[in-house]
Each structure stands twice: as C-alpha cells, then as structure tokens.
C-alpha cells in the first residue's frame, strides 16, 4: 500500500501542476456559471403575470398564501375536487394559467403538482414553488407548535413540487429539480470521462516510455494500477472541490448582485413576524431570498444529494477508471488504446441519455433498470434523488449503491488481471482473443 500511495502522490503532483488542470479549474466553473445565468435570465417562455388556482380540497391553506401581493402572481382558491379535464374544459377555469393540487397527504409524502397551460420560464416556476413551499412550511410549523429553528431543520424535508403540462400531465420534464440532479450526474460523468482519459494516457505513456518496467520491479501491477487510479482520482476530487468553491462563490455573487429582491418586504408574513417565530422570522425577513436563491440554495437538499453524490462519484469513478486503466495496459500502442476509448465514451453517452430518459419517463422499464445498472446508476440515481424518493423507495438507492460498489470491485479485479498480463506487451493489436487469453491467465 505504501508504494501505491507513492505512485498516487506522484500522479497527483503531476496532474495538479499541469496547465490543463489549472485551466479546467477556472474554465469549468465559469462555463457553468454562465450557463446558469443564461438559463435563469433567458430560459423558458417569458411570462409577466400568472393567474394560479390553488385546489385545496381539505382547506389546508385556509385560503391564504402570503400576507402581501406579488405583482407577478395572483392566487385564487378552490376547495373542491378538480379533475384535469374540468380545468382544461370548463369556462370558469379558463382565466387561470395553472392550478396547484394540494392533497391531504402533502405533509406526509411531500409531493405536490402544478399543472400549467403554457410552460412558464424557470423564474416563474421557482417563484410559485417558493411561495407554496413557504406556506406549507408555515403550516407545518403551526401544526407542530412553535419549534426552534434547529429542530425544524432536522425535520425539514424537501418538498417535491412537480410541474406538469395540464394537456400532457405524464411528461414530467418540467421538473427543474430533476434537472439539477441531471446536472450532478452529468458532472460525475464529465469528471469520469476527463480523468478516465487521463488514466488511459498516463498508463499508455508509462508503457511507451518503458518506465513501467522499473516500477514493476518494485511495485506489483495491482498496486501500480490502484496508485494511478487513486492519485488521478484525488486530482479529480481537488478539481471538483475548486469547482464547488468557485461555483458557490459565483452563485453567491449572482444572488447578491444579479438576482436580488424578488420578494419585497410587504410580502412578509406579518403575523408570524409579530409572533417572533425564530425560523420564519429569519426566513422571511431575509431580503435576498428569491426564486434563484430558492432553487440553488433551498430547494435542493444538499446534505443528502452531496452525500450520495460523493459515494456515486467515488465508486462510479473506480468502476470506469479501472476500465480505462485496463485499456491503457492492454493496448499495443497509444493509438491502439484510443480506438478502444470509443466504446467507453459510447457507454458514457448511453448513461447520460439514461438520466435524460429518467426525467421524462421515470416509470419506464429502462428507467427502472438504469437505476441499478452500474454503468448508468451514478447519473440516474442523482436525477431520482433530486426528484425525491418516496418513503417506500429509499431502499432502492442503497441497493443501487451496493451494486455499484460490488461492480467497481469486480471491475478492478478484472482490470488488475488485464493490467498485469498486458502491461509488458508491446507492439501488438488488441484482439478479443488476446484479451480473453490474458483474462484467463493468472
């Protein structure tokens, strides 16, 4: 292990000293921040005003949503049961742009739906989400009595408020939260692709400049491969850490300088303020809250998402990293190895597509399968995690994680065997027959 660590440290130093690492560390976050800005500024159909009907059969909202008025959204309440057909066909509902379905179980399952006639821009979506969520939180606090902020934060769970087209309610692509999950999943695959290629190049160049023979005289092939994967993996993590800080800082700047003061003080809940409820007071008096902040800072349950993001990142990286290392080791030349990268890139693209597919058709067979398949699970789980697991489903994320961990170890042991038998072979062309021979050879 000592030697693996020395190899890892060398790899790490080499990576973080390279110009491409520094360039990516700054360019990546810049591009993401730019895209975020563009999405929030110009994404979706610009809607100036929305007329929203809150269908609250149980009267949970008590026909109230916020104390003041929002110029962009008007709310009306309907305390009966409303079917989609009625909303689309009946004359009296035509003046509403959307309706929000509040069912009695909302406090328990944290799931609600917003059915719209025309897709609103992200700003409008998050504005409505924010206002409905705050009202729900307010009711939750009232329901549970006055509870301190700390206690409230403990029981607070993200609310899954899904936007759907009233004419096509099964298409859930409007779920912005799912897209945040997709973003996280894409980030995993972006890092896997970039740093996986680094593993491949590093193995190929050690092989072609023959230093591998000196290393193998001291280090076992398995330790060498592991050291390489770990070292480059740490570099990937550092890169990710830099991205997080820069993106976090960039988002903070956007919050402070670009997307400010959407919620004017007159919209604050005066009753709650006067009662001095600690959490709500802090929450609603914070002038910087707005829909942008809400999506980025409040709506994503970062604790859970980041926890699983890190685990799926690590094991997804090990799974694919082993594959890249094995290809580097078995290739007869650097060009030969590049050809075999294509199938892996293809696999990565299938994974990305699976995440995209999951957003649109979360109930399809492929969506369910791709949640467990180790090639696709890192991205699909991130999407599902952002959309929210219902109570009975939480086992599936652990099942998927265990499958990925086991697959990563199986992949590492297969790769170690190919690495051991292929690393000192030069000048050949990779053939399936040869790979099978090396796999069988102990």
């Amino acid at each position: 292990m000592h030697n693996s660590w020395l190899i890892a440290l060398r790899e790490l130093k080499e990576r973080i000293r390279s110009r491409s690492f520094l360039l990516m560390a700054f360019l990546g976050p810049f591009i993401i921040l730019l895209l975020t800005y563009l999405l929030f500024s110009f994404g979706g159909n610009k809607v100036k005003h929305w007329n929203v009907l809150i269908v609250d059969h149980g009267g949970l909202f008590e026909n109230k949503i916020m104390p003041g008025k929002d110029k962009a959204v008007s709310y009306s309440f309907y305390n009966g049961i409303l079917e989609l057909e009625e909303f689309t066909n009946r004359e009296e509902f035509q003046k509403f742009d959307a309706f929000v379905e509040i069912n009695e179980k909302i406090f328990k399952n944290k799931v609600g739906f917003v059915f719209y006639r025309n897709t609103p821009d992200p700003k409008m979506q998050t504005r409505v989400k924010f206002q409905i969520e705050r009202r729900l939180e307010e009711l939750l606090i009232e329901k549970n009595g006055k509870i301190p902020l700390k206690e409230y934060l403990k029981i607070k769970q993200p609310l899954v408020l899904t936007f759907a087209d009233v004419y096509d309610p099964n298409n859930l692509a409007g779920n912005t939260r799912a897209w945040v999950g997709f973003f996280f999943g894409t980030l995993i695959f972006l890092f896997i692709a970039l740093f996986g290629m680094t593993i491949l190049r590093s193995v190929s160049s050690e092989k072609s400049n023959r230093i591998v023979e000196v290393l193998l005289a001291t280090v076992s092939p398995k330790s060498l491969m592991l050291g390489k994967i770990i070292g480059i993996g740490i570099a990937a993590f550092i890169q990710f850490f830099i991205w997080s800080i820069l993106i976090g800082f960039g988002l903070y700047l956007m919050r402070e300088l670009v997307f400010i003061d959407l919620f004017a003080p007159e919209n604050l809940n005066a009753t709650l303020l006067s009662e001095g409820t600690s959490y709500t007071e802090q929450y609603f008096t914070n002038k910087t809250y707005n829909e942008f902040v809400d999506l980025i800072f409040n709506r994503i349950h970062y604790g859970t998402v980041l926890f699983f993001f890190i685990l799926f990142f690590i094991f997804g990286y090990l799974f694919y990293g082993a594959l890249f290392a094995a290809i580097g080791a078995v290739s007869g030349s650097e060009n030969d190895g590049q050809q075999f990268v294509l199938p892996i890139i293809f696999l990565l693209l299938i994974s990305l597509y699976s995440g995209y597919h999951f957003i649109h058709y979360p109930e399809s067979t492929w969506a369910k399968m791709s949640h467990y398949i180790p090639f696709t699970s890192p991205i699909v789980v991130m999407v599902k995690l952002s959309m929210g697991y219902s109570e009975g489903e939480t086992y599936s994320i652990y099942f998927s994680l265990i499958l990925l961990i086991l697959s990563a170890f199986v992949m590492l042991s297969i790769a170690a065997r190919l690495y051991k038998n292929g690393i000192l072979q030069f000048g050949h062309r990779i053939r399936m027959k040869l790979l099978l021979k090396w796999l069988k050879k102990t």
Partner: protein
C-alpha cells in the same frame, strides 16, 4: 555472509512457447556476471523473473539461500534495457521518487541523491526536467536511480549503451567499486568487449536454453583448447608443407608483404604444442607462439551458430 544468487531450474512458457528451459546458475557476491545471448534468447524473461516482474512456471530464485520474495525487491537495483523516466519531472524529484519506491525514507532519499549528484559532478542538473536532458544525461540519471538505495543485487541490462567513452569508463569504475563491496552484479549486454573487460563469469543463453557457462577465460578457450597462434617470417607455402596430418591450419593473416604471417593452428590427435614447434622451426622463423584466445564476439557467434546448426 557472502551474497549469493541462485537460479534453479527455471522454466517459463508464454502461450505454449518456451521462453526459458531449465536454466540454472549461481552468482556470488563480488562477481560481475554476464548474461549473454542473441535477441529473443530469453535473457529479458530471465531478468524479469529475477526481478519478480513475472513468475517462473517451474524452478526458483534464491537470494542468500532463501527463496526470493517481494520483501527482497528493495535489495535489487534494476536498470532495464529500454530506459524510461517521467519526462516532466525534475532530476531531483525523479531520483527521490525512485529511492522512496525502493524503500528509502524521504530524508535518506534526499541525502543519497545529493551525494550521487555530487559524485558525478552533476548538481547543476538537479532542477532540470528530464525532457531537457540528452540521452546520455538521462542514462546517467537512470543509473543513479538504480543504485541509489545501495542494493545487494544489481541487474543491469545494457548499462553502457548511449554513453560516450568517458562515461563508459566512469560507469565501469563504479561497477568495479560495487564488485569490491561484495555486491552481486548481473550484466546483460551484446557488447562483448565490455564482457571481456569487466565480467568475471558469464552464461550464454540460446533458444531458451543455457548453452555455456563459466569464467570468461574458460568460455574463451572452451572450443579452442588445442588452438595456437603463431607469428612467423618466411614462406607461407613452406609453412603449409611443414604441417602434416597431425595439425590443421585454421586461419591465416598476412602482416607484411608476403613475408610475415599470423596463423592459427589446431592440434589433432595426441600432438602437443612442443610437436608443433618442432615441425615448424625447421622451415620458418617463429617470432611468437602462444595459445590462441578468441574474442568473446567469436565465442558468441561460434557457440550460437553451432547450436542452431545442431537443432536444424
């Protein structure tokens, strides 16, 4: 205790093709031992087995009486034929990295690196990146990386290739010093001149098998025990006529205008050197006569060709 490396009945095949067939030999500390053989004979396979890069199918390798294990790898210094260094690293960082891989602490690695850089008067290279070095300079760095951790067993594959004559002499000096320190030194080379100059013993491998082994002087005389070299003045025809059925003229070289010659003659039957001189002295003027000692190059070619012909 004197260092000793024993190779015992080592066999290795790759996908059914024999790369080494029952090869055994022993190398003692304080000896420089040559592993010779044509390309593809199995030398590299043997060296990789000693280094535990690959495992033998049969047989084993013992160091100082014990089967070689992974623990012993730190006692080995290996310089492969195909040199490889990380091009983007500095000389100093690279040597420390290699030293640490071979079990030195960071401090030891730094101290020994500084010592060697001073010893070779190349301290100014310390901060140079490997890619900035010439081939010979990189070879020197590689050599230091091989010996930095003061190994008991040195395995050097073509250690002199790429060096200019001054550096060849420098490396030779170092090898002689290691020999005096009692280290086991294994040298694989095609440079037969260097084998004659510094090797004490050698083994010749051909087509996966050991075909000869012994001290360098033994190898040089093994096929030439009854061959003598004579330099004489006189007539070549007279010389040839004086030889009778008991001798065979192997080779002749004209040294001066058809008047001075160097010949090699093989004794046949029970004839000895004295008999040869007796028959020649009456017809020619002998300037010198001595036992013929072929170059290692000749021995190498003769032994490998002989073996190939037999197998054919």
């Amino acid at each position: 205790m004197k260092n000793k490396l024993e190779i015992e009945h080592v066999e290795k095949s790759f996908f059914g093709k024999k790369a080494l067939d029952n090869v055994s030999f022993q190398v003692n500390g304080g000896e420089i031992f040559g592993i010779l053989g044509p390309n593809g004979a199995g030398k590299t396979t043997l060296i990789r087995i000693i280094n535990r890069i690959i495992e033998a199918d049969k047989g084993g390798v013992k160091l100082n009486g014990n089967l070689l294990s992974d623990k012993d790898l730190k006692k080995i210094g290996y310089l492969p034929e195909e040199r490889g260094l990380y091009k983007s690293m500095t000389v100093y960082d690279h040597l420390i990295f290699l030293g640490r891989l071979r079990g030195l602490s960071k401090l030891e690695a730094k101290q020994k690196t500084n010592k060697w850089l001073q010893h070779f008067s190349i301290e100014s290279w310390k901060t140079k990146r490997i890619e900035e070095l010439s081939k010979g300079m990189a070879q020197k760095v590689q050599f230091i990386g091989t010996v930095l951790h003061e190994p008991e067993l040195l395995i050097l594959d073509e250690p002199l290739s790429g060096f200019d004559p001054i550096n060849v002499a420098l490396i030779m000096e170092e090898l002689k010093r290691f020999k005096e320190e009692g280290k086991i030194i294994i040298l694989s080379t095609h440079n037969m001149r260097s084998v004659e100059d510094i090797c004490d013993k050698a083994i010749l491998i051909h087509q996966a098998k050991k075909i000869a082994e012994g001290s360098i002087s033994e190898l040089r005389t093994v096929n030439y025990n009854d061959v003598y070299e004579i330099i004489f003045k006189g007539n070549m025809i007279a010389f040839a006529n004086s030889l009778w059925a008991g001798f065979e003229l192997l080779d002749k070289t004209i040294l001066e205008d058809n008047n001075k010659f160097r010949v090699t003659v093989k004794l046949l039957g029970n004839n000895n050197f004295h008999d040869l001189l007796k028959v020649l002295m009456e017809s020619i003027e002998i300037e010198s006569a001595k036992k013929y000692l072929p170059s290692m190059q000749d021995v190498f070619i003769e032994l490998t060709q002989e073996k190939t012909e037999k197998n054919a």
